[in-house]
């Protein structure tokens, strides 16, 4: 049983209870003790902080402390010993940091259920307990996602995709395997992705903005919530294949937990209720200090997440994506060295916010942003795409191709006799039908590590399009991007700088990194 250091046990009526005290410097759970094992049975407090390299992450349960005993999110309800919490760790911002994965490997000698063969290995047919069999998980934090090929529609019938798929490079061996390969017995395609944070889902799944029966970026049918019959915002997963927390839970229980029976309606409702009242954000910064305090920026800290409005477009100067009200601009020098350093860090965060929000650059050749009536290129800012108030996601139907998985922008080591490191991810050749319009920027032949949304929609224009991630808790859950290709916050910034030829100054890069670290 873990030793938990609870910072506070707050009443259920959180929304009316200030949480200022919890953001002051205080001991936090760290190291091995912050790992949640399935069936740990301790309560998840109403408020708790966890240490990370940038400070501390705060977790808020607005309904009060969560009794985890018997709770389907926390119990090993499948056949492989995993629970939902295995890959959605509170200390990792309800995702799973690479550092935690490596630590679990070392602590359990590879026996932790997160290393289960089904998806914790590069391919289930590889030798168990060999680190090489788990290299994508151990080096980049990636789980195998096996999807039907060809894609299936909502009724389970095979679709006719607009493109063919060939395996060009198969370092894991899975996509050419006689069982697991795309031409194998199971007719699967394997891609490798990071777990998404299971927190702040009130925002992530909100349908209050831009949701209609038809997808705003393509006009195609939106996925429907089976409980209500209403269209979903399709921001839940990297490829938008599941519309709601419940359907995601059911799917994940089947594919990741290997349950023998589908989750019951009661279990699904328990998971949904838990996830929709759960908020995660950085609470304390080693440089900038407390992130939620009287007179400070209103958009920082987990408390702000718990009380903010969902379904709001923030790419404007009335709501803002991450409201800071200029509170950390032009601060006094400080009375002593500690305060001077803190204020300097805060000013850097404020500058980083301003770079994010106001610094224009040319956004070009990005599918589902340059193709929705804005033109190619557009002179805009980060907040154009990352416009959802409080999360930095897109407001609805938020998949785009920024080049994180498609050539020529996706980074993998070149295959050459001189390379010290070989490519780790598979490479697919996508050939789009000649009788249909080509992908507007990549043509009819596309090379990709992960076709993304196209594996669900079957559309050529969706190749490599990935749903935008939320920005919260970044400090706790490296690496970044769906394929773990950015090991650090700096590498995120460097990717965009390279991709869009932004030419950030070193100061701008540092400020952006500091800004991202406090979200």
């Amino acid at each position: 049983m873990r030793t938990l250091i609870w910072l506070a046990l707050l009443p259920a009526a959180f929304a009316t209870t200030p949480l200022i005290a919890q953001s002051s410097p205080a001991p936090a759970v760290s190291g091995k003790s912050q790992w949640w094992e399935p069936g740990d049975h301790g309560p998840l407090p109403a408020y708790i902080e966890y240490a990370n390299p940038w400070g501390r992450l705060g977790i808020v349960n607005t309904s009060g402390a969560i009794a985890t005993d018997g709770h389907p999110f926390f119990e090993a309800i499948g056949t492989n010993g995993r629970a939902c919490v295995s890959c959605h760790q509170p200390g990792d911002g309800m995702s799973l940091a690479l550092s935690s994965i490596v630590r679990r490997w070392d602590e359990t000698h590879g026996k932790d259920p997160i290393f289960a063969a089904i998806d914790g290995m590069n391919c289930p047919n590889l030798p168990a307990a060999d680190p090489a069999s788990h290299s994508l998980l151990l080096e980049r934090g990636l789980f195998r996602i096996a999807l039907p090929w060809p894609p299936v529609d909502a009724t389970g019938n095979a679709m006719t995709p607009e493109f063919t798929l060939e395996v060009v490079r198969d370092p894991t061996g899975c996509n050419t395997d006689r069982v697991y390969g795309i031409d194998g017995e199971r007719h699967e395609v394997s891609v490798y992705r990071r777990p998404r944070p299971a927190a702040n889902l009130r925002y992530v799944s909100s349908s209050r903005f831009g949701v209609t029966p038809f997808i705003g970026k393509t006009g195609q049918l939106a996925t429907v919530d089976p409980d209500t019959g209403r269209p979903a915002n399709m921001n839940m997963m990297a490829d938008a294949r599941e519309p709601t927390p419940k359907t995601q839970a059911q799917s994940a229980a089947h594919t990741h937990l290997q349950v023998s029976e589908p989750l019951t309606a009661r279990q699904l409702e328990q998971i949904r209720t838990f996830e929709l009242q759960l908020y995660a954000a950085q609470a304390f910064s080693t440089g900038a200090g407390a992130l939620h305090e009287p007179g400070g920026p209103s958009g920082l800290g987990p408390q702000a997440m718990a009380t903010g409005n969902d379904g709001v477009l923030g790419n404007n100067t009335t709501r803002f994506v991450f409201p800071m009200e200029n509170k950390w601009a032009d601060l006094p020098a400080g009375r002593d060295a500690t305060e001077r350093e803190r204020n300097a860090s805060r000013e850097s965060v404020q500058r980083g916010h301003d770079v994010f929000f106001f610094r224009t650059f040319w956004i070009s050749d990005a599918m589902h942003i340059n193709t929705v009536g804005l033109g190619n290129p557009i002179k805009r800012t980060c907040a154009t795409c990352h416009g959802m108030h409080m999360t930095g996601m897109d407001t609805a139907n938020g998949w785009m191709d920024l080049g994180t998985t498609n050539h020529p922008w996706a980074l993998e080591p070149a295959e050459s006799p001189w390379a010290k490191k070989l490519p780790e991810l598979p490479l697919f050749k996508v050939t789009c039908r000649a009788d249909l319009p080509p992908h507007p920027f990549l043509g009819r032949v596309i090379y990709t590590q992960d076709p993304g949304r196209a594996l669900i929609s079957g559309k050529c224009e969706d190749v490599g399009a990935i749903v935008i991630q939320q920005f919260r808790g970044l400090a706790a859950r490296a690496p970044y991007f769906s394929n773990g290709s950015a090991a650090t916050l700096r590498e995120i910034v460097d990717f965009y700088d390279r991709r869009f030829n932004i030419r950030y100054t070193e100061q701008e890069k540092d400020d952006l990194v500091n800004f991202l670290s406090v979200l």
Partner: protein, 265 residues
Amino acid sequence: MGTQRRRRYLLVLVASLGPAIAAPAPAAGERINFVSCPIVRDTRSVPCWLSEYQGDLYYLTIQSDVSATVQPPMLGHQVLVEGVVSAAAPICGGIVLEPVRLSVMPERDANCNTLLPADDRYTIDFNPRPPGPSAGRLAFATDPAPPPASSAPPSGPQTFNVYFDFDKGVSFRHPADLVAILGMATRLKATRLRVTGVRGAHRLSDGTLLRESEAIGQRRANEVAQLLAGAGLKISTTVDWTDGASQADGVDDWQSRRVTVVLEP
């Protein structure tokens, strides 16, 4: 067409006289239809979009937001321009086309890559949407219309025209159209749906007949019918398609790139 032919002769004449004599600007009211590369000219605020045709530079639009009536084209692709020459003063150095209809050509064209830096000779005195965050509303959003005086239910067949980009199917342009059709179907208690796709054709200013791909009308009609059915409009449906080539005369030919939907009670 006669005006355009006369102008071409004039251009040849002017060219033979040497560079000292500039070609006359096209006359206000003249229709101009052409396919060419778009050009981006940056300004201190938002970029302008231009295109060159037969030695004249035309202003197409500026960058704004998704509410703009005329949305910018795309570098990397040619653009089909269908417009009327305006008497307004040039913008960003380009002759203004008003109204103008733009359609991005689907095939890629690497030659369409001209992005000109900001030049203080070219300023724009209107700026509905800055390049950074907006002031909180869409640039061209209109105030909500007052509710109709009477809410008499619709009666009789109701017709909708849904317009498309050149050789393209359903896109980001169409959710609002499709939602409107669904709404009318409910109010009308529609029992029958007729969907007719049209293969568009365009008479360009140089006389060329530019036609969409042969199967596009059928593809559009099927796609619209399937989307409406998928969204719950499961009523008796007829799908048909036709060819709009014979109607192409250089006047608003963009209207031939369409699907016509008829709802019957």
